[in-house]
Amino acid sequence: MSLLKKITLYPKQDVDYLSVVRGKPSLDQMVQSMKITPSWKSTPNLSLLFEFNGDFVSSSVVGLTSRLVGFSIYRRSVNDSVLHHVSDLHFDDEKSIDCLYDYTVQNNTEYIYTIIPLTENEAGVALEGSAVTTDFDTWSIIAIKPMSDNTYVSGDIWTLESDVTTNPFTQNTCVTKFDGFSKYPKVSIGERNYVSGSVSAKLGQISCETMQFDDNVQKLEAWRHFITQNSQFLIKDIKGQMFISKILADTTYEYDDSILQMPTTVSFEFVETVDASDKTVYSVELRE
């Protein structure tokens, strides 16, 4: 499909505004739209708006004195006043950023994002969006790749939602008691403090479209390739826990031969390797 490339205005006219929105309206919608002067606040899907208030700039950011180069994005949970830096996104000359996915969000938690526009010379006013509450109903295992000290980008994502069984989590700490001749023992506490655990679940699930159990050998092979890769994983459970982990060697799978579809149950053990609370896992989708 061809894209709109250029818009040109010709002389001998006064132009108050020029706007472009995405979407093809019906004739009636066009008529209704003409009753309203478009604005960044009230017009959905607005892509361009030249208001010609002394400049030739179309931007949903006001107060620009130099070129808009990107955004700083921060996140906080509603009950937390501390902003966590998610990412600085910079525009490319050729591509624009369509959206950012933030994976480092716990389930059943209300989050607010703050956006700061960045120009070549200025940092903009922070603007908070509305709160969003996560309500996932699956476990998710996300392969991640480190980008900097506190930032990772996401790779493949698997969600597990059928017959999920968790074994007891282990909080691995280093507390040692020394019994001596005194009345009380000595107790020394080391720095070690990480979580390990194991999960098993059906690999497939019922497809809403076909109402069939979606499980085949290709899916199993894809899982085996995914879970055995030399990568760190962001593991999130339905309770809301979140671990940056490594998968241990003891990953297993089995299928139920007594059922025609032979549903596969996969199991794996993980061990927390990094505190996920101050880390960010994200991905960016560029405008196609």
């Binding site: 499909m1 061809s2 894209l3 709109l4 490339k5 250029k6 040109t8 205005l9 002389p11 006219q13 006064d14 132009v15 108050d16 505004y17 020029l18 472009v20 929105v21 995405r22 979407g23 093809k24 004739l27 066009m30 008529v31 739209s33 003409m34 606040k41 892509s47 361009l48 030249f50 010609f52 002394g54 030739f56 700039v57 179309s58 931007s59 949903s60 950011v61 006001v62 107060g63 955004f71 994005i73 369509d98 996915y101 933030d102 994002y113 526009p117 010379n121 200025e122 940092a123 908070e128 969006g129 996560t134 309500d135 109903d137 998710s140 996300i142 994502i157 969600t159 999130k236 405008r287």
Partner: protein, 459 residues
């Protein structure tokens, strides 16, 4: 009861550099039981000659662990020298062991003979002999003759004696004298009008001392509870550059450049303010945040948050009428490349409010697509027409009530049939939109790749 008097191990200056042109505070930590008086001496490290001898200072309230400060006035010393200093610490009791031995000769009265060339013996010490203490007035190292302040009676040869003192002299603490380095920061404009800043440190030292390490620190205030925004740590380099990106508008930051010379002298610029003031861009609407269940992530939609700058080839202006400011296009064109917005040909709606000049004949607006096709609105002096890749058709017009108004034959209708606008026609204003006034007229243009409609409006 034994009193302890120990040599201090903590002192300043000690392998440091000090500036002799300013008054300096020499300090040491007392590590005996109780100090009664002290005295410092400063010597040339090269030839051990005495440079400065302080006076004995009596104190009454110095105990173990207390820090003692000795002021050395400015210009007492000279910069560019290698020196060392020591402290003589006194207590009341004479129980600091100096030496012991047996008398070399028999003597009587206030004379004793001990060994020759015993360097640790000095006047003021006390000798313990025959169960009594006697103060030593003098010691002749060449003859071993001790002169006492009072008679010790008859002393036989090989009588045991012990000499005590009431003071200890510390170890030597070497140091050097160097002029204080001058250090400053350049690159701070007032006010600073950018979110990023590049600072340069300017360092010089009169005696040629080089920098061992330096450190930049940026704070969000100058009070004790100020937060450190950036800290380079000790950078072992003489390149004094510091870059920071992220200064928030209408804020005051404080920056400090500090460090140490290779001679051990420390330097600092102190806290230098950076007053940041600039017009801060502001988002007009917050991006939409939604839940992506498939990815188990939150999606921050940034589509539409972008910037496009149109190119003006005619030097056009932005006059105002009332509260309205608009683009007055007199010559050339105003065009914008929107390729990066990825707006699909069949998935957009353009709307424009324009007032066309009375003598305007020609193109009003043109849309070009990547496949080479185009759409234009053209005014031929009478009608507004849509030009679709060279094929022209009249533009549909709207009455204010949003009802289509003219038939292709120029007949007003009140039904929902679509009509065309004919600027030459005269119509009943009660039924439809008419061209009651001469051009120029103001129109809202609505344009897709397939359709174009206009609506006359009041400017």
């Amino acid at each position: 009861m034994i009193n302890l008097l120990e040599r201090p191990i903590s002192a300043f200056p000690y392998n440091n550099a000090i500036d002799a042109t300013i008054g300096n505070k020499f300090t040491f930590t007392f590590s005996g039981d109780k100090l009664s008086k002290y005295k410092i001496n400063i010597y040339n490290l090269v030839n051990n000659s005495s440079i400065y001898s302080g006076s004995e200072m009596s104190v009454s309230d110095i105990y173990r662990g207390d820090e003692v400060t000795v002021s050395v006035p400015s210009n007492t010393l000279t910069n560019g020298m290698s020196l060392y200093w020591d402290i003589t610490m006194y207590q009341d009791a004479y129980d600091v062991f100096v030496t012991s031995g047996r008398t070399a000769k028999a003597s009587s009265g206030s004379i004793l003979y001990i060994g020759l060339n015993i360097k640790s013996v000095a006047s003021g010490m006390k000798v313990f002999i025959n169960n009594a203490f006697y103060t030593i007035n003098s010691y002749d190292a060449s003859t071993g003759k001790l002169t006492l302040s009072s008679s010790a009676g008859s002393i036989a040869i090989k009588t045991n004696y012990v000499i005590y003192s009431n003071y200890v002299v510390s170890h030597n603490f070497p140091f050097i004298t160097r002029k204080t380095p001058t250090i400053s920061i350049s690159g701070i404009s007032s006010p600073h009008k950018k979110r990023s800043i590049s600072l340069t440190g300017n360092y010089s030292q009169a005696d040629g001392s080089r920098i061992k390490y330096h450190r930049w620190r940026l704070y969000n205030g100058n009070s004790s509870n100020a937060i450190t925004i950036a800290d380079t740590g000790n950078v072992f380099s003489e390149r004094l550059k510091f870059n920071f990106d992220g200064l928030i508008y209408n804020s005051t930051y404080y920056v400090e450049l500090s460090g140490e010379t290779q001679d051990g002298a420390t330097f600092t610029t102190g806290l230098k303010p950076i007053v940041v003031s600039y017009t801060s861009p502001k988002l007009l609407s917050a991006p939409t945040v939604s839940i992506d269940y498939e990815k188990t992530a939150l999606k921050i939609d940034l589509d539409g948050i972008d910037q496009y700058i149109a190119e003006d080839t005619g030097g056009n202006t932005f006059p105002s009428e009332g509260n309205r400011q608009y683009l007055h296009l007199t010559s050339g064109t105003v065009s914008v490349d929107v390729t990066k917005s990825k707006i699909k040909k069949d998935d957009f709606y353009l709307q424009m409010l324009s007032r066309i000049d009375v003598d305007s004949i020609g193109d009003v607006i043109r849309l070009d697509f990547e496949d080479g096709s185009y759409r234009k609105i053209v005014f031929d002096g009478t009608n507004l027409k849509l030009d679709k890749d060279g094929k022209k058709s009249l533009v549909l017009a709207l009455r204010d009530s949003s009802q289509w108004c003219f038939t292709t034959e120029g007949i007003p209708e009140s039904t929902s049939i679509l009509y065309e606008w004919d600027d030459n026609a005269t119509w009943d204003d009660t039924l439809c939109w008419t061209e009651s006034a001469a051009i120029p007229n103001s129109f809202v243009f609505g344009l897709t790749a397939d359709t174009c409609i206009i609506k006359e409006v009041t400017w």
